[in-house]
Amino acid sequence: MSQIDVSETNIEYTVKEYKSDTKPIWCPGCGDYGVLSALYQAFADLNLPPEDVAVISGIGCSSRLPGYVNTYGFNAVHGRILPIATGVKMANPEITVIGTGGDGDGFSIGMGHVPHAVRRNVDMTYVVMDNEIYGLTKGQLSPTAHVGDVTKTSAYGSIERPVEPVKFMLNIGASFVARVNAGNPKHMAKVITAGIQHPGFAFINAVSPCRTFRGIDQKKVVNAQSYYLEEETDYEPNDITKALQEASSQEGLAMGVLYREERPTYDKLYQDLRNRAVAKGVPEIREILDRYIP
């Protein structure tokens, strides 16, 4: 375990403290701006010391995000957000670990890691900015694009069924699953705050329209389809069947926390394991040698 001095201070952090000096490279109208400001707000609401936060990203428009946040950040390679975030969290469980990336990073090249971070229940928040297109490489087909979508690499329309991130995450047993609309930063900040507070793997799919490659209509459609679970008095996010129904709803896009369940986190389970290992007695490291003298 690292020797961390988690400062107990009375400092009140405001949104300003989390902003870096770097200006985003995103296009005007990009949904990712909304996600970024919601993230600042969530950090401020939780009053997290910036030095105790690590934001890990991969490659894509949205993965540029750590550079715009004045916390620790890691803009790594394409598709490896979850392993790197797992390493950070397990090396130092005191750190609040946030993964931020896109639909291609998470559900195409990085898909192999998703079920494993979920089943380990790594205590982190994974925000996927889902624009259903590859923006950074300028307009190729995404795994979350719909059948029939014409992109630079699906000239005749996509013939592949999309990954549906929220349904997928519910089905593989994620302990916290939410959907947010990048056009509603206020709501988003609340959900991200809940995600960070959730002990375990919190998945948040941020529907984040791409004006450049999806046109102005994508945002309009998302706004028109959004409905908010918090406004439905009888919705409790503790029923997986209901959560799946909402995730599959033909009526529109359910926004908010769809499902939440408390389960032991990976770092807590690991600490239990260490305690069991230590219970049998621990030799000095030098003494291990004795085992190899027959």
């Binding site: 375990m1 105790d52 690590a54 790197i84 230590v278």
Partner: protein, 588 residues
């Protein structure tokens, strides 16, 4: 005749327990202060199938597995066929065979026309009658070998008790009964017709370890507390060892979902301030290569072990080769600095384990450790005092350079310094926030696509390799400095090269050898000096394409020295005789 150095092999099917017998034998030797060396070899089957082992016992320290088998214990000649390419015999060879195999002595399918001295022993029958189970066949074999050749019987009895100490008393007794049955059979029924009698003076017990164990131990000793890996032959023992030990020392070992995740987790843990590593074999390194570049670019310390096996692709997972050298030196896209270091024997695996972390942490670079199957999975003895004293001064621990309070006032993570190393903060350190990035960045860590910044920062990263070269340049040298014929090899080939050169020197040949421990950055100054006295130099390596030869041609100045290749395909380690013959040719 008295023998102070014997090579014994056994072959049988998986259930015959030849590997267990070999382990007990080499352990028995070590417990009585005898030096030992053991190789095991398996067929491709998961259980059952063929297996063989080779044990060398010697009063003196030995450096290799010993070329020719003097004593061969055979349960089944069918199983021997699988290994005949790996086995060479002395003339005569002494064979102990189980009569249950039903092969007549004059029909022995030995792939060699040496003279055979054969003892046919009803091993299976003795096991059934005296131990109550055919499972004790290997113990009967040990009894026969021990009594016939003067092997350390008391040590073997102790070894049997130790091996089965967690089993029921009956199991221990049955195995001991098997061993005694073999001993008694020789005493009462066998007339000794060969002249091999092993003799030794008892000494302080030796340490007996496998290379993979020694490496893992070295890493733990160096302060490694985070390991992520994915099972792969022949590196899994490191993963297994870490799984048992790391949690006991407040560490973390994760079996990742694949090698992409394994190195990602290690890099993440390193970013968070932990000494971290992963271990794999060639195929895993291929998957890790992209993130090797990430560690180089983001200047994150990480240790990556490659226990090489025969390639390419799946190749022969259970056999050795040295053909991942170029991959280690240059693998991954772009100009990615890294350090490559190769342990030479089991004891050195420990030292290199410590040193790899020393380099990674001090210089904030990825360090690739090139071990191989021959080294990782063999058992070898060394003196108790040798390990923690560190023969070559390599046993140095180090903590990462972190920023001072003053530096944190305007923290510049990638500040350009004389040796390229800039103080590194990690999550939790107030005012030390920065962005680690695979994207090119300036001194502050901000992304850039400016060609001039790329040039400056690339130079900074490679500056660290220059600093490593100045600090660390350990080379093993053997033979007289003014010799005119030289041998250059690397890694686990050291054993055969050393033994061959020492033998040649004893016979009056003026030969010298050099085996560098660090391959990147190559200690060119010292190696160029080594080459100066030479008329001819043989570059010996287990790589069909001659990767080391090609590398040296580009790095060293040979002047008038004629440089020759001895490069062959893997599947087996070098024999002493093989190197001896190649070098002796130079004198004809």
């Amino acid at each position: 005749m008295e023998h102070k150095d014997v090579v014994i092999a056994m072959a049988g099917s998986g259930g015959d327990g030849v590997v267990s017998a070999g382990e007990i034998l080499v352990g028995a030797g070590a417990s009585e202060g005898i030096h030992g060396f053991m190789l095991k070899s398996f067929g491709p089957q998961i259980r059952g199938g063929e297996s063989s082992c080779r044990v060398r016992l010697s009063e003196q320290q030995v450096y290799s597995h010993g070329d020719r088998i003097q004593i061969f214990g055979v349960f089944s000649w069918d199983d021997y066929r699988q290994f005949r390419g790996e086995m060479e015999f002395t003339d005569p060879v002494v064979i102990v065979m189980d009569t249950a195999d039903k092969t007549n002595e004059d029909e022995i399918p030995l792939d060699s026309d040496v003279e055979r001295i054969v003892y046919s022993v009803p091993i299976t029958d003795l096991a059934k009658e005296e131990a109550g189970t055919t499972q004790a066949k290997n113990m009967v074999m040990l009894g026969v070998l021990s009594e016939l050749f003067g092997l350390p019987g008391e040590g073997i009895r102790q070894g049997i008790r130790k091996k089965f100490r967690k089993k029921k008393q009956e199991v221990i007794e049955s195995n001991i009964a098997g061993f005694e049955a073999g001993v008694n059979y020789v005493r009462t029924e066998v007339k000794k017709v060969d002249d091999i009698q092993f003799t030794f003076t008892e000494a302080e017990p030796k340490v007996l370890m496998e290379g993979n164990e020694a490496f893992a131990y070295g890493a733990l000793y160096a302060g490694c507390r985070f390991f992520a890996g994915y099972p792969i032959t022949p590196a899994s023992e490191i993963l297994e060892w870490m799984s048992r030990e790391l949690p006991r020392y407040e560490g973390t070992m994760i079996q990742a979902e694949d090698e992409l995740a394994a190195i990602g987790m290690a890099i993440g843990a390193s970013f968070a301030g932990e000494k971290a590593m992963t271990a794999t074999s060639g195929p895993g390194i291929s998957l890790m290569s992209e993130q090797l570049g990430l560690a180089s670019m983001a200047e994150l310390p990480v240790v990556i072990v490659n226990v090489q096996r025969t390639g390419p692709s799946t190749g022969i997972p259970t056999k050795t080769e040295q053909a991942d050298l170029m991959q280690a030196l240059y693998g991954t896209h772009g100009d990615a600095n890294r350090v490559v270091i190769a342990p030479a024997d089991v004891e050195d695996c420990f030292g290199v384990g410590v040193q790899a972390f020393y380099i990674a942490e001090k210089y904030q670079v990825p360090v690739i450790v090139l071990s191989d199957q021959y080294l990782g999975q063999r058992k070898e003895t060394f003196d108790q005092s040798a390990l923690l004293n560190g023969g070559n001064g390599a046993i140095k621990q180090v903590e990462r350079l972190t920023p001072s309070g003053e530096e944190l006032e305007d923290y510049t993570r990638f500040r350009i310094t004389d040796n390229g190393v800039s103080p590194m903060s990690f999550p939790g350190i107030k005012d030390g926030m920065y962005q680690a990035a695979g994207i090119e960045h300036g001194e502050k860590g901000l992304p850039t696509s400016d060609k001039n910044v790329h040039e400056k920062m690339t130079a900074k990263r490679f500056q660290k390799n220059k600093a490593v070269a100045e600090e660390l340049n350990f080379i093993r040298f053997y033979g007289p400095e003014d010799a005119e014929v030289g041998v250059l090899g690397w890694g686990s080939s050291k054993g055969a090269i050393k033994e061959a050169v020492l033998r040649l020197n004893e016979e009056g040949y003026s030969v010298k050898a050099a085996v560098p421990q660090i391959l990147m950055p190559l200690p060119t100054k010292q190696l160029n000096q080594y080459v100066e006295s030479l008329h001819s130099l043989i570059v010996a390596e287990i790589s069909y394409s001659g990767q080391f030869y090609r590398y040296l041609k580009g790095e060293l100045q040979f002047g008038d020295c004629e440089i020759k290749q001895y490069a062959r395909v893997g599947g087996a380690a070098f024999n002493v005789e093989e190197i001896y013959n190649v070098v002796e040719q130079e004198f004809k």
